[in-house]
């Protein structure tokens, strides 16, 4: 877990014991976590894990059953002092009946004071948003593009993207990642991106939250998380010497060469051993690690394509 920062001025979002219950299901189960300001946070988890519910409650689009949430130090619900600083376009966002993309963008320009019209126009060109098609008749990807553009051009101090790449082709997805990083570096702000395509967004993330069955499984900086496991490659017997009794996440044998991913950081002695035995250390993929961590938690031992 991240060391809790005591200074509230660095926190964008503080959630305390957040629970959201729908009839028979518990979408959020006593969630306590913080999102620091001016960072890109990843909210990862399987379908139905509670990602969208958490995002909805944090952005005041939904109400918690119990617990509290604060955004920039205040309760965001029905709070016009805080709400103009938040932008959350949902994955299945609805738009006014018969609206064209330009109607949605014009409305967003009026709602968000940091809105950058030049940036919006550039993105409209780059994502090739159709001008004369009503949003409801657009393809999945085109709809996603409209949402992504509103999220980026609004420059809201807290911007939330819920699986923003749905339906986008590889080129458009890359465009989104590029523009997000580029604009974020020029105008740092708090960004939360949910995803189940972990490896695709892992390079963006500074902080990773993994949610499963409404509970927080991981809440760490991307760096810390990456250090939780390591992949050792080399002669099988040498590899075995280094990894010892560690928990193995993944193992591949190619003749006498082994490629083993294990949980736990290597200590100094082991690192020396790695050098002596002429082994290679490869950083583990976030996806692999998270699949493992959530699988360990759940009774749901299904394969990794759940992510």
């Amino acid at each position: 877990m991240t060391t809790p920062t005591t200074d509230t001025s660095v926190r964008a979002i503080e959630a305390q014991g957040l629970t959201r219950r729908f009839k028979d299901t518990i979408a959020l189960d006593d969630v306590t976590l913080n999102f620091e300001k001016d960072k890109i946070h990843g909210l990862l988890g399987r379908n139905g894990a509670g990602k969208t519910t958490l995002m909805s409650v944090m952005t005041a689009q939904d109400w918690p059953t119990s617990g509290s949430v604060r955004v920039f130090g205040q309760v965001p619900h029905e709070n016009e002092q805080i709400l103009p600083n938040i932008c959350f376009v949902r994955e299945e966002q609805r738009y006014p009946e018969d609206a064209l993309a330009k109607h949605a963008f014009r409305a967003a320009r009026e709602a968000f004071e940091n809105w950058d019209e030049g940036f919006a126009q550039q993105l409209i060109e780059e994502f090739r948003v159709p001008k004369k098609t009503t949003i409801k008749k657009m393809s999945r990807g085109q709809k996603s593009a409209v949402g992504v553009i509103i999220g980026l051009a609004s420059r809201a101090p807290l911007t939330v993207f819920d699986e923003p790449y749905m339906g986008l082709d590889a080129v458009a997805r890359q465009l989104f990642y590029d523009r997000l990083l580029q604009d974020y570096s020029e105008h740092p702000r708090t960004v939360v991106v949910s995803s189940h395509l972990i490896d695709e967004i892992s390079h963006l993330l500074e902080h990773v939250v993994v949610i499963d069955q409404g509970k927080i499984m991981v809440d760490e900086s991307a760096e810390e998380l990456a250090e939780r496991a390591v992949t050792v490659v080399g002669r099988a017997d040498s590899v075995a010497q280094v990894v010892g009794a560690r928990e193995v996440l993944d193992r591949e044998d190619l003749g006498r060469i082994a490629r083993v991913t294990v949980l736990g950081k290597l200590n100094a002695t082991e690192r020396c051993l790695v050098n002596e035995l002429d082994l290679d250390l490869i950083p583990v993929s976030l996806q692999q690690l998270i699949v493992h961590l959530t699988r360990k938690n759940g009774q749901t031992n299904t394969a990794s394509e759940g992510f």
Partner: protein, 254 residues
């Protein structure tokens, strides 16, 4: 392009500062609440009068001044359309307003203001239509949609216009109510409410009939004019508007 970091603007601002933006949001798609209702109003009027002229042509012995033709039903078309559009703003524009991070309160106020303006527009159109029909004596053939001679005693053009505006406002709130209720509750509860409303209406009718109160009600109605009816209608609008706000406060986009 600015180069400043977007920081949360926490200095105090009016909590109603974005009401005008929501008002304009309702008119983002111009034709939904402006051009199409005007077109439907004109079309329904033309059709109503046209039907009147058709009937007139089938009655060669008719003396127009003694036997006026009323096709006031055509006046309803715009009301139904606007009730549906009000429902659409609850089902579609409301979730979008959440994405734009408007509070429910600001959304409801801006939306009601838009409804009031649309209803007032309908009222003005009705008043104009009323005067056109009065002045031309039902297009020279005593054929009326908005301006039957009897309306003169009810309050004249202004009274009729005001009554029409309140009726439209009520039905817009009514359309909005069902759409937002649908968002809030499950289908069985929705049906319970629908059946409850029907039972309440039938129950009232039964109670009135059993107690033989119909003459009293008839008397009460004849004592009303367009202004007092508009007043009662407005009371209903206020009540329904409050119910709508309570419903939308906890409504979600999901």
């Amino acid at each position: 392009m600015t180069t400043t970091t977007p920081q949360p603007t926490l200095p105090h601002r009016s909590s109603f500062a974005r009401v005008p933006a929501v008002f304009r949001l309702q008119f983002a798609v111009r034709y939904s609440f402006i051009w199409l209702p005007m077109f439907i109003f004109a079309l329904a009027w033309v059709l109503g009068i046209g039907i009147g002229f058709f009937i007139d042509s089938q009655m060669p012995d008719r003396i127009p001044a003694e036997d006026p033709i009323f096709s006031t039903g055509a006046a309803q078309a715009t009301i139904w359309y606007l009730a549906f559009m009000a429902a659409y703003t609850a089902s579609h524009t409301f979730p979008f307003s959440l994405a734009l991070s408007y509070s429910r309160r600001v959304y409801v106020i801006g939306t009601y203001l838009a409804f009031v303006v649309v209803a007032a527009g309908y009222g003005v159109a009705t008043m104009l239509a009323y005067y056109i029909e009065r002045v031309t004596e039902g297009f020279g053939r005593h054929i009326y949609v908005f301006g039957p001679p009897s309306f003169e005693n009810l309050g004249g053009g202004f009274g009729i216009g005001m009554f029409a505006a309140v009726i439209v406002l009520f039905f817009m709130c009514f359309g909005f109510f069902w759409a937002i209720l649908y968002r809030r509750v499950t289908i069985p509860i929705l049906w319970t409410v629908i059946i409850g409303v029907i039972v309440a209406i039938l129950g009232t009718v039964v109670v009135i009939t059993l107690n033989d109160w119909w003459p009293n009600i008839g008397q009460w109605l004849t004592n009303q004019n367009a202004f007092t009816l508009a007043g009662w209608g407005f009371l209903a609008v206020i009540l329904l508007g409050a119910v709508n706000y309570l419903l939308i406060r906890k409504a979600t986009a999901g």
